[in-house]
């Protein structure tokens, strides 16, 4: 049987959920809101799961093979030679991504039911969450760059709405604005990339671009590099990479499940997905690829160092997210796209878990986010503790947790890329050390020792929240066992072949050595955290006091926000206030409007006298007018003027 997959249902069902809860949510009883909100992602996940069963294990009704394209029968954009269809494509890459998005999305929806239970904006929250899923699945399924851009902008909108969900809080509203504006800079790059694609290839469809690039080996460097770098700018905005990462830490103002879903597991990985989707372009430009790798490595290290000293539990996780996204970019930069997607998947599991567990801690402490006021929660929040432990071990890269496999795949791929690759590998390893340190720091500070705010009675979260935690914990433990080999060969149809350790230089033993190094480094990080925060809790303060300069720089996040404030925001504000506000708006625009208005008033005042209301004056003007017309018609002006040497040329002459 060759049935239809109905890909369009995957985004459209969450859209329906958004419309129902968004329009009627306030009047519907809460259980109905919950049911609608949960059914939408559940149904989407079910469709994706059926597709996955079909294409992974060939159990299912569809005889078609990947990639499976679905195009809207109505032409979308058709102008001259430009034809853009509204098309969805399901291939290995989008299938994996969809599983992550809808699967993790479903779990986080479930978790939110408990987390947001007492919030006034319950229905609004879920309508936004469903809206996010709609746009995210559109982004993932997109068959061309324009459809992807719709999803891309849409997730930005959903992100903005959810960061500023508690809009009564000034910080939240401003964080939402910041995220939106910083993303706009990235979107500019994406747009430029699209324009250049249209100008040079005449199409935005990913598969056609790949075909055209493949047919003509002359496409290297030059314009391809510019396109790739423009797309990279878009990706750095969405995926919070240097230099556009600054919005993500502030985005933690949103509800914690939002941070888990949008700002950790799914939306921020859209940049990685976009690069993987357009990898043919990047493959044709070694320069762009190296830029991707450098951006990734630099971000990974940079964000990890900031994460070392943050005291807000969610901010630690935010910087860790930026750092892990840097790993994915690093993988893309060494053309190990399947490794990047593999890490994207495992990261979605353990980072979503970390955020949800942090949310459970915050929930249990009645809104406390400061690590310095936690401590000793191991006994009070046992389920949260154990699931968090799984996530911490996963992100630190311990065997056999999920993070080990994906991080290892990335580091291995980087190590294979010559001398520069070794440098990238080294940065990756240092970052792994830092990652292990700050994650165990969080672990020790939150769960071990004595409670540092004994007046708060911590309570374990309800099972509606713990259920998703347990499922994600299982995925964080076992998710890596798919193995890079199987994962890479499955994705190879889209992302190209991966390096096989068995045949590569150094063979299987090199792979083992590199894994051992990574685990050893993680152990060192754990040990340092242990000695700092478990054995001698006074040590960190001493170290900070011994090195006040570096500590201050880190605690203030390298003053990047301040630098941007001074170099970008401030000049823009000044220009807006004085040049645009005073000169352009008030003086030029306002002045000309005032002048025109005055002119009209003046002319009106003059002409007003004509409207005397006196019938006889009207009649006189009428008579004068008639006389003037007669005069004009009867007097032979041409002859008259000819006397003075003026010659009128008539139409008839």
């Amino acid at each position: 049987m060759n049935g239809y997959l109905h890909l369009w249902l995957i985004p459209l069902l969450p859209l329906a959920g958004f419309l129902i809860n968004g329009l009627l949510g306030r009047r519907l009883p809460k259980p109905v809101v919950t049911a609608v909100a949960l059914l939408a992602p559940l149904a989407s996940f079910a469709i994706v799961a059926v597709a996955a069963l079909n294409f992974f294990w060939h159990i299912g009704p569809f005889a078609s093979v990947l990639p499976y394209t679905e195009t809207c029968p109505i032409a979308w954009i058709s102008v001259g030679t430009l034809h853009i269809d509204f098309s969805f494509v399901l291939d290995q890459l989008s299938l994996v991504m969809l599983l992550v998005v809808t699967g993790v999305g479903l779990l986080i929806h479930r978790y939110s039911v408990g987390y947001m239970a007492h919030d006034e904006g319950y229905a609004r929250y879920f309508s936004y969450l469903n809206l996010f899923l709609f746009f995210m699945t559109t982004l993932v399924l997109a068959g061309n760059a324009l459809v992807m851009f719709i999803g891309w902008e849409g997730v930005g909108l959903a992100s903005y709405l959810l960061i500023g969900f508690w809009f009564q809080k000034t910080t939240a509203a401003e964080a939402g604005k910041k995220a939106f504006i910083v993303n706009r800079i990235g979107d500019f790059g994406f747009l430029i990339g699209m324009f250049l694609l249209l100008a040079n290839f005449g199409t935005l469809t990913f598969s056609e671009i790949a075909t055209k690039l493949g047919q003509d080996p002359g496409w290297t460097g030059g314009v391809v590099t510019v396109i790739a770098l423009s797309l990279l700018l878009g990706a750095t905005g969405k995926s919070a990479q240097l230099p556009l990462y600054i919005w993500l830490p502030d985005a933690m103002e949103g509800p914690t499940p939002v941070s888990a879903l949008i700002h950790a597991a799914t939306m921020v990985t859209a940049g990685v997905y976009m690069i993987a989707r357009n990898h043919v372009l990047f493959d044709h430009s070694p320069f762009a690829l190296s830029v991707v790798a450098i951006v990734g490595a630099a971000t990974a290290l940079f964000a990890a160092t900031i994460g070392l000293v943050q005291n807000d539990i969610k901010r630690v996780l935010a910087y860790s997210t930026i750092s892990q996204l840097g790993y994915m970019f690093l993988a893309c930069g060494v053309a190990a796209y399947s490794a990047a997607i593999f890490h994207l998947m495992t990261h979605a599991f353990f980072k979503a878990l970390l955020f949800l567990a942090a949310g459970s801690v915050i929930h249990g402490l009645g809104g406390e986010q400061d690590l310095r006021k936690m401590g000793g929660l191991r006994k009070k929040l046992p389920v949260t503790f154990w699931t968090m432990t799984a996530a911490v071990f996963a992100i630190a890269g311990f065997f056999p947790f999920a993070g080990f496999f994906s991080k290892d795949a990335i580091l291995y791929a980087a190590f294979q890329q010559g001398t520069a690759g070794k440098a990238l590998w080294f940065v990756g390893v240092v970052t792994a050390l830092l990652t292990a340190f700050y994650m165990f720091r969080l672990w020790y500070l939150a769960f071990f020792g004595e409670s540092r705010s004994p007046e708060v009675h911590a309570h374990e979260s309800p099972w509606s929240m713990l259920g998703p935690l347990v499922i994600l914990a299982l995925l964080s433990i076992g998710g890596g066992w798919i193995g890079m080999d199987r994962f890479g060969s499955f994705l190879s149809a889209v992302t190209g072949p991966t390096i096989d350790p068995a045949t590569a230089a150094g063979g299987k033993s090199l792979d083992l050595i590199l894994s051992a190094v990574a685990v050893a480094v993680a152990l060192v990080g754990w040990y340092i955290a242990h000695s700092f925060y478990k054995q001698k809790p006074e040590r960190p303060a001493k170290l900070a006091a011994a090195m006040p300069g570096p500590y201050k720089v880190l605690a203030n996040k390298y003053y990047v926000d301040e630098i941007y404030g001074a170099t970008v925001v401030k000049p823009l504000m000044l220009t807006s206030t004085y040049v645009l506000g005073w000169v352009v708006d008030k003086a030029i625009l306002g002045g000309s409007a005032w002048l025109l208005g005055g002119l009209a008033t003046f002319a009106g005042a003059l002409l007003q006298r004509w409207q005397s209301g006196n019938i006889r004056s009207y009649a006189a003007w009428l008579a004068v007018g008639a006389a003037a017309v007669l005069l004009f018609a009867l007097v032979p002006w041409a002859t008259f003027l000819a006397n003075f040497g003026i010659h009128l040329t008539m139409a008839g002459n």
Partner: protein, 107 residues
């Protein structure tokens, strides 16, 4: 054979009379205050035009101008009916027929 009229009185005299009547109408319209006099001035102008119509119709031996005169008369009669009705209404409302006083539409 020429008619008695055209033999004895040249065409220009009729046209001059027509112009004089029309000009009198205009002047009356402009300087008179009483609405009824103004109204009569309009009739005067119409009749001045009518006279020139008839003159030209005779000159060119065409009946068209004469027919037009009937149209003008008809319109003038209709106008007189409507106009007088308006004048009565105005007089009832304002108790005056002075044109200068009827200036409610003034800004």
């Amino acid at each position: 054979m020429n008619s008695l009229l055209s033999q004895q009185v040249p065409l220009v005299c009729y046209l001059l009379l027509s112009a004089v009547l029309f000009a009198l109408g205009i002047v009356g319209f402009l300087i008179k205050r009483n609405l009824i006099t103004v109204f009569m001035s309009i009739e005067l102008m119409l009749n001045g035009v009518n006279l020139s119509f008839v003159t030209f119709a005779h000159q060119w031996h065409q009946v068209r101008g004469q027919i037009f005169v009937f149209f003008v008369m008809m319109v003038a009669a209709a106008e007189a009916a409507v106009g007088l009705a308006i004048i009565i209404a105005v007089f009832r409302a304002r108790a005056t027929l002075a044109v200068d006083r009827i200036d409610l539409m003034k800004l």
